[in-house]
């Protein structure tokens, strides 16, 4: 196991409270979410149901509702809530003094 490569993506202030921003990668978009309590999560920006952009959904608690058909996902686990079944990939993220970093194993190895 190689150590994770942490990639800087911006600061906490770049994301609206109870909102999200996108990070584009060669493998598709990643949604970076900020909750009311200033927790930050990164998940794949692609609903497993019909591919909806989760970063465009309404953020409530540590969850987001997909804008296309209202599936709700836990930002912590990436799993669909309620009666729906499915999950999105979660991406490791750390906050250091207001700066945000994500780890992209796959990307890092490809880019190298």
């Amino acid at each position: 196991m190689s150590e994770m490569d942490w990639i800087a993506i911006g600061t906490l202030d770049d994301i609206p409270v109870r909102g999200a921003r996108c990070v584009t990668t060669p493998q598709g978009k990643i949604g970076v979410f900020r909750t009311a309590e200033d927790q930050v999560f990164a998940i794949e920006d692609h609903c497993p149901h019909k591919g909806g952009p989760l970063s465009q959904g309404i953020v409530h608690g540590a969850a987001v509702t997909c804008p296309l058909h209202n599936w709700v996902f836990s930002l912590e686990t990436g799993r669909a809530q309620g009666a729906d079944e499915g999950s999105v990939r979660t991406i490791p993220l750390k906050v250091e003094e207001g700066r945000l970093f994500i780890a992209l194993d796959v990307l890092a190895s490809k880019a190298a």
């Binding site: 800087a8 584009t24 978009k29 309404i58 509702t65 880019a111």
Partner: protein, 816 residues
């Protein structure tokens, strides 16, 4: 080998018979029905609510067309059977269709009794039996003229109440000295007359009709004493006769009705009869409960079980006039061998009378408070000896055994075989048993599975109490649907409390109303945001993160994550410059699809989110603003070309449409609001299926509202006619503001109107000038803060972050 079953008539009795038969022997018969009425099976008991406007025809259909298809039943609509050939075993319809049968069921119902007086066949004289009669009455009621109802029985009074609520001036003529004398004693009849008169209906008792007067068309009714009562419509509701003619012609034994045995067979063993046309044991029936009993017996015999027998039982009578409660059952004539117990409460308008014989209940009349009807019915049916509770009997079930006045305890105390639904003969045990065995949780489920409360609906309260008893706290009939899982409050309570407690932010609402989640969910947050925007237009700062993506980025998200953009085209009018600007934008941003919308505008689809501000910037330079095609707010005002161009146009519909749109754009509403203005009743702008519509006529502007042409299809209601454009605008604005203040989030205007009542809306908007002005002023005030073009704001840099990715990572840097 399937046998051929032919049914003449398609009313409630044969419909119910088929339901039983399909359950017991689904494949035994090939079924053919001939219906003289050109329609499917509907609930005739509910014609009165249709007449009064409380229900629509589609709501009273029992079996839709799909049901007949699903069960492989051939239904000939509008075919009257003119001959039965018993030797050849065929029937023939007036359209010449001849159908062979193995078993024939006659269910021709009844015909209204038309009193034999001169003029009784004149135009404007109607009976009250089927939907055609109701439609004719509704047509006549549009004139708001005078109506006379002959007959003060159940049907006559329901017809009178319906016509009166439709705005007619109604007089009821009744030949006897008190109303409903067959079901009510004189005291209750008197109270009923008072209640009917209090609604503005005139009642003349001991009125002997001598003639209907008029000149080819009804002008009035002449009484035996020479009085003439003016009328443009006369409804005869003096009774019904079994319709036995076709059987009589075929040589089947008839008396008052078609004579059948207790198994519903006529004198011909292959021919059965049931419903109002049938006579069993010398009795004919007109209320639904015994007719359904006949249906059960007939189905059982058709399915090959010979044991079922029709047994006579008294059926309670209830009047279906909103606000008048009466209940009558059994025999209540005076007699030497009878005792009576009477309770009168003049102030509360209550009268109760119990008739006893040998310490057993034989008759009941309840007026004003009828909750104990089912219990008295049960005592009577079981012939319970009431001597133990004689002193408190009249106070009802709750007074027996020292239990407190708790209606739930009363229902709990009912025996399992106590009848709850009189129309369908459903007892308590059947309801509670089905709730448990099928896991039912809603009233609609219980209706679907047991039929209880599915006909006249007067036992709905009892059924709901049974549901509460059976399901415990998980069912509460009075509980409103909560907004979402974050709260127990319904939308109306939340709206009320926001105003009452002066709550002005989402966190404040959640704190004060004890939200169960920290920051709500995707259901409640947009609703709360709307309520706060609406209620505090000058103080509340829109919570952008509580808006659905479309309202956040002012475009419509598509399935692939791109957006569509619709600029406003006022009243659907555009010009060369605008079209050129659109063409340039389409080329510049390589927009894949350009489409004309149903609301007379142009939609550009497939725009990348990052491009939105630049697209808006270019559109803005040509003078375009956001069309709010994404908003729970004012969408379009569709127009026709009106008097400027059209040879039929009566007013400047295009101009009015533009004026309305310019006045109202930017306003948020509970759900989307689509409007239209048509320049004449030809209605080319299709205003009569819009949320709000205007039909211009020579004399002014007819204001329509509460139409729908989406998941539901519904023609508009007419709010009223106004003379000038200014008045039209004021009325439309006031109506919209009332909807804005009362509508539940995502509730379209037609659903709100159904909930609040068209009459109440008319009262507040048309009749009450002060209310109208106040609504109008509040709308105008709120527009000061709402009419900001969201596109130009974003072109100037607002919410920049929304349209740009936060970062791009992982791309090979060498590429740059």
């Amino acid at each position: 080998m399937t046998e051929r079953l032919v049914i003449i008539g398609n009313g409630m009795a044969p419909g119910r018979m088929l339901e039983h038969l399909l359950e017991a022997a689904p494949d035994r018969y090939q079924v053919t029905i001939f219906n003289a009425e050109p329609r499917v099976n509907y609930d005739r008991i509910m014609l009165s609510p249709v007449l009064s406007g409380e229900k629509g025809y589609e709501e009273i259909i029992i079996h839709g067309d799909g049901w007949y298809i699903k069960h492989g039943i051939m239904l000939y609509k509008g075919h009257r059977i003119v001959a039965i050939d018993r030797a050849a075993k065929t029937v023939t319809s007036d359209h010449g269709v001849t159908e062979p049968y193995d078993k024939l069921v006659i269910a021709t119902g009844s015909v209204p009794f038309i009193i034999p007086v001169p003029g009784n066949d004149m135009a404007g004289v109607l009976s009250y039996r089927d939907l055609d009669d109701v439609n004719s009455m509704l047509l006549a009621a549009q004139s708001r003229a005078k109506a006379v109802v002959i007959g003060g029985g159940l049907l006559g009074l329901e017809a009178a109440a319906g016509l009166q609520s439709r705005g007619m001036d109604v007089t009821v003529l009744h030949v006897m000295s008190t109303l409903m004398e067959r079901q009510l004693d004189p005291a209750a009849g008197y109270l009923l007359q008072k209640a009917v008169e209090a609604r503005g209906i005139k009642v003349i008792t001991k009125a002997n009709t001598k003639a209907i007067v008029g000149n080819g068309k009804v002008e009035g009714v002449e009484l035996a004493d020479g009085t003439i009562i003016a009328a443009n419509l006369v409804v005869m509701a003096v009774g019904i006769r079994p319709n036995a003619a076709i059987a009589r012609d075929a040589g089947i034994e008839t008396n008052r009705g078609i004579v059948v045995d207790h198994g519903m067979s006529t004198s011909d063993p292959d021919v059965m009869a049931l419903g109002e046309c049938a006579e069993v044991g010398g009795q004919v029936y007109g209320l639904v409960a015994p007719l359904y009993e006949m249906a059960r017996v007939a189905a059982s015999h058709l399915a090959g079980e010979e044991g079922a027998r029709f047994v006579h039982s008294d059926t309670p009578t209830k009047l279906k006039v909103t606000g008048i409660d009466l209940y009558s059952l059994g025999d209540f004539a005076d007699g030497d061998d009878r005792e009576e117990i009477v309770l009168r409460d003049a102030a509360a308008g209550i009268y109760k009378r119990l008739v006893l014989k040998d310490n057993r209940l034989i008759g009941t009349v309840l007026y004003g408070e009828t909750g104990d009807g089912a219990w008295f019915n049960d005592l009577k049916k079981k012939q319970t000896d009431i001597s133990e509770m004689r002193d408190t009997l009249i106070f009802g079930q709750a007074y027996q055994g020292g239990s407190p006045l708790d209606p739930m305890a009363a229902v709990a105390a009912l025996a399992d075989d106590a009848e709850i639904c009189g129309c369908n003969g459903v007892c308590k045990g059947k309801i509670t048993g089905t709730i448990t065995s099928k896991g039912l949780t809603s009233l609609d489920d219980v209706r679907a599975h047991t039929k209880a409360s599915a006909s006249c609906g007067s036992c709905t309260g009892l059924v709901e109490q049974l549901m509460s008893l059976t399901l415990g706290d998980s069912y509460n009939p009075t509980a409103v649907q909560p907004m979402c899982k974050c709260t127990d409050f319904g939308h109306d309570d939340v709206r009320r409390l926001i105003k009452a407690k002066g709550l002005k932010t989402i966190p404040e609402v959640m704190q004060e109303l004890q939200w169960k989640t920290s920051c709500g969910c995707a259901k409640c947050r947009p609703a709360l945001n709307y309520y706060l925007v609406c209620d505090w237009p000058d103080e509340y700062a829109d919570d952008y993160q509580s808006r659905f993506i479309n309202e956040r980025v002012h475009a419509n998200i598509q399935k692939d994550g791109t957006y569509s953009v619709v600029p406003r085209m006022w009243g659907g009018v555009t010009n060369a410059n605008e079209l050129r600007a659109i063409a340039d934008v389409v080329d510049k941003f390589e927009i894949p699809l350009v489409k004309v919308t149903g609301g007379q505008r142009i939609d550009m689809l497939g725009i990348r989110k990052e491009d939105l501000p630049a697209v808006w910037s270019d559109l803005g330079k040509a003078g375009f603003v956001s069309g709010h095609a994404y908003a729970k707010g004012l969408r379009t005002v569709k127009t026709c070309v009106g008097s400027d161009w059209c040879r039929f146009g009566t007013q400047d519909s295009t101009g009015l449409g533009i004026r309305i749109e310019k006045f109202m754009w930017g306003s948020w509403t509970p759900a989307k609001l689509k409007m239209a203005v048509s320049g004449c009743p030809r209605n080319c702008a299709e205003a009569t299926c819009k949320d709000v519509g205007v039909i211009c006529v020579d004399s002014g502007f007819e204001i329509h509202f509460a139409g729908a042409a989406g998941l539901d299809i519904k023609g508009t209601e007419v709010l009223g006619l106004v003379k000038s454009e200014d008045e039209a605008l004021e009325v439309i604005i006031a109506l919209t503001q009332m909807y804005r203040e009362q509508g539940r989030y995502l509730e379209r205007i037609y659903k709100w109107a159904k909930r609040v009542g068209v009459a109440e809306i008319k009262r507040q908007i048309l009749d009450d000038a002060d209310k109208r002005t106040a609504y109008y002023d509040r709308f105008v005030f709120s527009q000061k803060f709402a009419q900001v073009d969201p596109w130009s704001e974003r072109v100037s840099g607002k919410d920049k972050h929304e349209f740009r990715p936060m970062a791009s990572v992982g791309f090979a840097e060498a590429a740059e």
